[in-house]
C-alpha cells in the first residue's frame, strides 16, 4: 500500500454485527502516521484520530532537548503499543515499534547525561547518589524560586 492510499480516518465495521452491542469502527491496518515529534504535540501518532475541540489545534512545538527527545520516543512507543494491543498482526507498526525501542536507549542515555538517573535501575555512572538532585518532573525551574 503506498502512502497516499493509507487510511486517514476510516475504519471497518463487522459485516454482520450482532444486535444490542456497541461498535467502534476498527482502525484499518497501516494507518497514516505523524512524525514522532508532531505526534507528541498533537497527542496522537495517528492522523485519522486527531480530532481537536473547536479547532483548538495544539501547534506548540517543543524545543529539541534531551528531555523532549525522550518524551517524543516514549510517546511513539506508547501509541504503537496501544495500537498493537488491538492490531498485533500489523507488520509495519511492529517494525516501527522495534525501531523506536532502539532509539529509546540512545535517548535515555542523553537524558541521563543531562538530568541524572531516570529511575533506580539506570546504570550508575556517577560517583555519588544523584537521585535526589533536581529536576523533579512536576517542577518548573522558572517559577521554582520564591
Amino acid at each position: 500500500m503506498n502512502k497516499e492510499d493509507r487510511n486517514m480516518g476510516e475504519g471497518r465495521l463487522p459485516a454482520m454485527a450482532p444486535l444490542a452491542n456497541p461498535y467502534v469502527p476498527f482502525q484499518l491496518d497501516n494507518p497514516a502516521k505523524y512524525e514522532p515529534r508532531t505526534a507528541l504535540v498533537r497527542g496522537t501518532l495517528f492522523a485519522g484520530l486527531d480530532l481537536p475541540f473547536m479547532g483548538m489545534v495544539n501547534k506548540q512545538e517543543q524545543p529539541v532537548t534531551p528531555t523532549t527527545q525522550l518524551q517524543v520516543i516514549s510517546f511513539a512507543i506508547q501509541e504503537l503499543a496501544l495500537y498493537l494491543d488491538t492490531h498485533q498482526n500489523d507488520k509495519e507498526a511492529f517494525e516501527l515499534y522495534t525501531q523506536m525501542q532502539c532509539l529509546y536507549e540512545e535517548a535515555k542515555k542523553e537524558f541521563e547525561n543531562q538530568n541524572g538517573p531516570m529511575n533506580h535501575f539506570s546504570v550508575n555512572n556517577n560517583k555519588t547518589y544523584k537521585w535526589l538532585n533536581d529536576p523533579w518532573p512536576w517542577e518548573y525551574a522558572k517559577n521554582k524560586e520564591v
Binding site: 463487522p14 450482532p18 444490542a20 452491542n21 456497541p22 461498535y23 467502534v24 469502527p25 476498527f26 482502525q27 507528541l40 504535540v41 498533537r42 497527542g43 496522537t44 495517528f46 484520530l49 486527531d50 480530532l51 481537536p52 475541540f53 473547536m54 483548538m56 489545534v57 495544539n58 506548540q60 517543543q62 528531555t67 523532549t68 525522550l70 518524551q71 516514549s74 510517546f75 506508547q78 501509541e79 503499543a81 496501544l82 495500537y83 494491543d85 488491538t86 492490531h87 498485533q88 537524558f111 538530568n115 541524572g116 538517573p117 531516570m118 529511575n119 533506580h120 535501575f121 537521585w131 523533579w136 518532573p137 512536576w138 517542577e139 518548573y140 522558572k142 517559577n143 521554582k144 520564591v146
Partner: protein, 198 residues
C-alpha cells in the same frame, strides 16, 4: 510491578500562577471522571479479563493514566506556586486553600473528595469495556469544558494533549471490545460471563 521514571509523558511548563484555574482543573485529579479514577478503573478491571488482548490494553492504558495523574498534579502545583494572599482571597481557590493549602488533593472541582463510587468494576468483560468507552467520553468532555474556561496557552497545550488521549483510548477500547466479541458465541454474546464461565 511499577517503576517510577523521573519524567512526564508531556512537558508541563506554566509561567503564570492562576489559583482560580487550579480550582477547576483539580477535577481531573480526583473528580468523577479524573485520572485517578481512570487508572484505578483499568488497572482493577484487568484481573477479570479472560483474554490476553484486554489484559494487555487495560494494563497499558491504566499505566498511562497514572502518568496523566502526575501531569494534572504538575499543572495544579505550578498554577498555585508563590501565590500572594490577595490572589487567594479573591479567587474561587479559597475554599480549597483553607483545607489543603497549596497541596495537591484528589477532589472534584465541586469539593467532593475522590470516591471509588465514580468508577466501576463489574467483573464482566463486555460490561466493563462498555463502561470504559463511556469513561473516556466523560473525561474528554471534562477537558472540553476546561478548554472553554481557560485562556492560558501554557495550560491549554497540556489539556489538549490529555483530551486527545481520551479519544485514542476510546478507539482502542472499542476495538478491544470487538476482539473480545469475536471470541464469544456469535449468536448470543451474552450467553454467559466469560470472566467466570469459560
Amino acid at each position: 510491578m511499577f517503576i517510577y521514571d523521573k519524567k512526564l509523558q508531556y512537558p508541563v511548563k506554566i509561567d503564570k500562577p492562576n489559583p482560580k484555574l487550579a480550582s477547576i482543573i483539580i477535577s481531573q485529579y480526583g473528580g468523577p471522571d479524573g485520572e485517578l479514577g481512570a487508572s484505578l478503573r483499568y488497572l482493577s478491571q484487568r484481573y477479570s479479563m479472560p483474554f490476553d488482548e484486554q489484559k494487555g490494553l487495560l494494563t497499558d492504558i491504566g499505566t498511562e493514566e497514572l502518568g496523566h495523574l502526575e501531569m494534572v498534579g504538575a499543572i495544579i502545583h505550578q498554577l498555585t506556586r508563590n501565590l500572594k494572599d490577595s490572589q487567594i482571597e479573591d479567587s474561587a481557590f479559597a475554599p480549597y486553600f483553607v483545607d489543603h493549602t497549596a497541596g495537591v488533593y484528589p477532589t472534584a472541582a465541586s469539593g467532593f473528595p475522590f470516591s471509588a463510587a465514580s468508577m466501576a468494576v463489574k467483573g464482566d468483560p463486555i460490561a466493563d469495556l462498555t463502561e470504559d468507552l463511556a469513561a473516556e467520553q466523560k473525561a474528554r468532555v471534562t477537558y472540553d469544558n476546561i478548554l472553554r474556561l481557560s485562556d492560558d496557552p501554557d495550560v491549554n497545550n497540556v489539556i489538549k494533549f490529555l483530551r486527545q488521549r481520551e479519544i485514542n483510548h476510546f478507539q482502542r477500547f472499542g476495538e478491544s471490545l470487538q476482539l473480545l466479541r469475536e471470541k464469544l458465541n456469535q449468536k448470543n454474546v451474552y450467553y454467559m460471563n466469560p470472566a467466570i464461565d469459560i
